[in-house]
């Protein structure tokens, strides 16, 4: 097998790649649905209906997409510089914990600030918590040459245990009757709902705003150029005078901050407090979203809505049909692999001989 570079990637090819990948994914997942003994067409119809078929479905999908946009951005920003941040899950929890620490724990006694200022402080604390959590492995990478993949993965477990410790200890909600959940955020810090009688909240606008900001920063600033240069070829970037270690550290801070904000926005927009199951793997799903989006921050928004729709739709489908909800995870994983291959096929001819 041999790869031959195509001269230029035609726009048609670039657009066809995700379409072919999604079609392939649906075909593979159909085998799994058939295996469970359910009618394929009806199952897909139920997933689509549950994810995108009604006003309620859309509202649930957009609510689910909100944290996914942010973890998707966390991966897209870092992967662009070839900094493999697999720790968005932990950074999200760190952000959620920091948000409650600032905006709930002190109940007005510790931080007697006006709500608007407290809101800013809360998001800043969450971004900082996530950013610093990613800065550590980035520092270990640039300074000691430690591969960041393993360290960020291991940090996820450490953070979750830390969250569990906090929920048992200093941040425990005394009124939760033994449920492991944190004290609640102050009411005036909760994000307003965008649409009445749904769960869609202002966090969605923050997430989309950050996506636009990242897109602009990547395209139109010196920093964005340096990030892309470091990702394309760190040695050449260093030779051209790009401060590689500093760029990687800044990328780490930005990437971790995005995931940390995701945690704060979940708390302020949806849950109101931290629990150990507030994220069903949003951090890991963010990686898939970033890859589906081709690491483009605006693409992340679209990919997050697609993936959120599949997750929400599969939940609602499994209540009606006898297909386990894990079909959503199968679809997402196959979509990732299919997208990788499709993107490759758009850039290269794959010759078998």
């Amino acid at each position: 097998m041999r790869l031959e570079a195509r001269g230029a990637v035609s726009p048609a090819m670039a657009l066809a790649a995700p379409v072919v990948a999604v079609a392939f994914t649906l075909a593979v997942a159909a085998l799994f649905v058939a295996w469970a003994g359910a009618p394929v067409g009806r199952t897909y119809a139920l997933i689509f209906e549950g994810g995108f078929g009604s006003r309620f479905a859309w509202s649930e999908t957009l609510t689910r997409a909100t944290p996914l946009i942010l973890t998707g951005l966390a991966a897209a920003i870092a992967f662009r510089a070839r900094l493999y941040n697999i720790g968005a899950e932990g950074q999200l929890y760190a952000g959620a914990l920091a948000a409650v620490a600032v905006g709930g724990l002190h109940g007005g006694t510790g931080f007697d600030l006006p709500p608007a200022l407290l809101l800013v402080a809360m998001f800043a604390a969450a971004a900082l918590a996530g950013g610093l959590l990613m800065a550590l492995p980035a520092f270990a990478k640039t300074r000691f040459g430690v591969d960041e993949v393993v360290t960020t993965l291991l940090l996820n477990f450490i953070v979750l245990l830390f969250v569990s410790m906090m929920l048992d200890g200093p941040m425990k909600d005394p009124a939760a009757m033994g449920w492991p959940q944190s004290v609640a955020l102050r009411e005036e810090l909760e994000l307003p709902k965008l649409v009445e009688r749904t769960r869609v909240h202002a966090g969605l606008l923050i997430a989309i705003g950050l996506a636009v900001l990242s897109w602009t920063a990547m395209r139109a600033t010196t920093f964005g150029f340096e990030v892309r240069a470091v990702g394309a070829n760190p040695r050449a970037a260093r030779f051209a005078g790009v401060p590689v270690a500093r760029t990687l550290l800044l990328v780490a801070l930005a990437s971790g901050a995005a995931a940390g904000l995701g945690g704060a926005i979940e708390v302020a927009g949806r849950t109101g407090y931290v629990t150990l199951d507030m994220s069903p793997g949003y951090g890991y799903t963010g990686i898939v979203i970033a890859m589906l989006a081709g690491l483009n921050p605006l693409g992340v928004v679209a990919a997050a809505v697609f993936v959120a729709g599949v997750l929400v739709g599969a939940d609602s489908m499994s209540r009606a049909a006898s297909v386990p909800t894990y079909i959503a995870d199968v679809i997402v994983a196959v979509a990732l692999i299919a997208m990788l291959v499709a993107a490759l096929a758009a850039r290269y001819r794959i010759r078998l001989r």
Binding site: R2, V149, T151, G169, I287, P324, D329, A333, L340
Partner: protein, 308 residues
């Protein structure tokens, strides 16, 4: 505190626990080592362990023998390894992303298949696992199952293949300098994919140890980061099988110790702090050895014929 430590170390049960905890790590670490020695990172390990744990257990639950279960887990692992091999070797996709994709795919398939096979169970069904080898008569080893012996025997076997056979020389060469290997008439693609499949088979067996020996049923999140720890252990071991065994035992020693200390009154620390210890130690070990680690030269570098 010191007395508690001394009595712990004098207790045969403690050392039995160390060996038991180390066994899946030995399989997994040797598996990762086989992949990385030919130049390919395999982050699929976490999911492959889940899949191996599931298929091995399912086979035994369906009436197959225990060793057949182990074989089924190995074949499962090899198949996922083959997929990872094709994606990363001839297609030269990002080894990080492909590996994570394999982990997500294998985990999703295992959980989906579990739910399809057992739609309405509240408590997971159990099987009869491997028995302890009490006939052995050696204190600590007699408390182990035969899979632990296999794991220990695997280490010198892999070391012998890697350092004493022409195949091992070819494998190491492909991981250090694939162009030179190609020049010798060796097939870089075949050697890499073959070694990844073999290593992934061992990862499947590592998972099967959990369901066929350590516990008697399959449940969600049972692998719980053990795969990632194996990836860290290989760096710690400097890509050498003997040191990998030592690393796995050392890690298991600390893990068994924290389990004991958690139960004793030795610390007023919350139990979560003890549970963090293995992960923290893994990171510290990585930082300590990273500077002088001698990576296989072609690790994470895809090979394309005729390209420099």
């Amino acid at each position: 505190m010191l007395d508690a430590l001394a009595s712990m170390l004098a207790n045969a049960d403690f050392w039995s626990a160390v060996l038991r905890i180390a066994t899946p790590l030995v399989f997994g670490t040797v598996g990762v080592l086989l992949c990385e020695r030919v130049g390919v990172l395999n982050l699929g390990i976490e999911g492959i362990m889940v899949a191996g744990a599931f298929t091995g257990w399912l086979a035994v639950h369906a009436g197959a023998g225990l060793w057949t279960g182990v074989l089924v887990a190995a074949v499962t692992g090899a198949l996922f390894g083959l997929l990872h091999g094709i994606l990363t070797v001839p297609l030269a996709l990002s080894q990080h992303v492909s590996g994570l994709g394999i982990t997500m795919f294998a985990t999703a398939v295992a959980y989906y298949a579990y739910r399809v096979s057992f739609p309405n169970v509240s408590t997971p069904p159990t099987i009869a696992t491997f028995a302890e080898m009490s006939w052995l008569g050696v204190p600590v080893l007699a408390a182990q199952t035969p899979m632990t012996l296999v794991a220990i025997a695997l280490v010198p076997l892999v070391a012998w293949v890697l350092y004493r056979t022409p195949l091992g020389l070819a494998l190491r060469m492909v991981g250090e300098n694939p162009a030179a290997a190609e020049g010798q008439g060796l097939s870089v693609y075949a050697l890499r994919i073959g070694s990844i499949a073999a290593g992934s088979a061992l990862m499947g067996v590592a998972g099967a140890f959990l369901t066929l020996s350590a516990f008697n049923s399959f449940f969600f999140n049972m692998v719980n980061g053990r795969g990632w720890i194996c990836v860290a252990l290989v760096v710690f071991a400097g890509w050498r099988p003997g040191k990998a065994l030592f690393g796995a035992l050392l890690f298991a020693f600390f893990d068994a110790m924290q389990l004991r200390l958690q139960q004793s009154d030795a610390g007023a620390l919350p139990y979560q702090a003890w549970l963090m210890l293995p992960y923290v130690l893994s990171i510290l070990a990585l930082v300590a050895v990273a500077r002088r680690a001698s990576y296989p030269q072609a690790l994470m570098r895809p090979y394309r014929k005729g390209e420099r």
